[in-house]
Symmetry: C2
Subunit: 156 residues, 2 copies
Amino acid sequence: MMTITGLDATDIEILKLLQKDALLTNKEISFKLRKSIATIHERIRRLKEQGYINRVVALLDRTKIDKSLIAFSQVLLNGHTANTLYQFEQEVVKFPEVMECFQMTGTFDFLLRIATRDMDAYHHFYRNKLATLPNITSIQSFFVLSETKSDTAYPL
Amino acid sequence: MMTITGLDATDIEILKLLQKDALLTNKEISFKLRKSIATIHERIRRLKEQGYINRVVALLDRTKIDKSLIAFSQVLLNGHTANTLYQFEQEVVKFPEVMECFQMTGTFDFLLRIATRDMDAYHHFYRNKLATLPNITSIQSFFVLSETKSDTAYPL
DNA sequence: GTTGAAAGACCTAGTGA
DNA sequence: TCACTAGGTCTTTCAAC
């Protein structure tokens, strides 16, 4: 097994479990890993304190909350000064439709993950919000047809 | 405010809060929304039962668990029969490095989100796992330089 | 749908081994 | 690391509005 600096096998197992289901009680985890509740409690406290666990969130069913369309949009800017990049980032993260924004290597500068109700709503976002930002050379959009796998858990 | 079938303003506010921080107690939520604890408890029970809340997970700091490199890889297959698509999906989701797999519209078939330790590990995954799957015409990989925004919360 | 109250489960910190 | 303890907090249920 790949080891991670500062973590032993018990820590790894705890992280694996909590990545899948953070509602597990210390009692349940202690039973699964055959350790005492006090041990599990202390481990989790340390994992949070040291920043291994960032936060705990609820994941929603996007089809039930009217966000049925996910787009990945590749954005190319017409300049790569620190200021141009910074300004784009500052503005694009303000849009609630933008769930993720990554600066990327390769043939475009930013990759955005955008959630909207439908194609009409995406079109509106595109024309009235995204495309109005300065210094954009091109935006290329790809749409999710189906989710085959959708994990927030990292392989451990 | 955009309304969602079956949810009132209180439900929406609860979902907003839990998407950001699922460790909020019913007590804290009831205080924020000026409702009784029992009401909040009943609403959350219903939201889970009806599938609005899929699950609750811990999000880890990927730099601390040795998954510093995130790649987005665009895969194009050399055939689009139902069987070819299905076989690719069946195999690719088995790789633990693949966190997300989407079938897409446009100039490629699948978009993969891949987490590895570093470029060496990605290379190994690419050569020994991904590229060995049948019916692949091309794989184009893009790497994350920096995360400007990284949300799991949908806009509500 | 909402409420307050009551009982039970769990968390958390402490001790000593 | 563990077992045990005890106090405090939260969850969960329920009768009543």
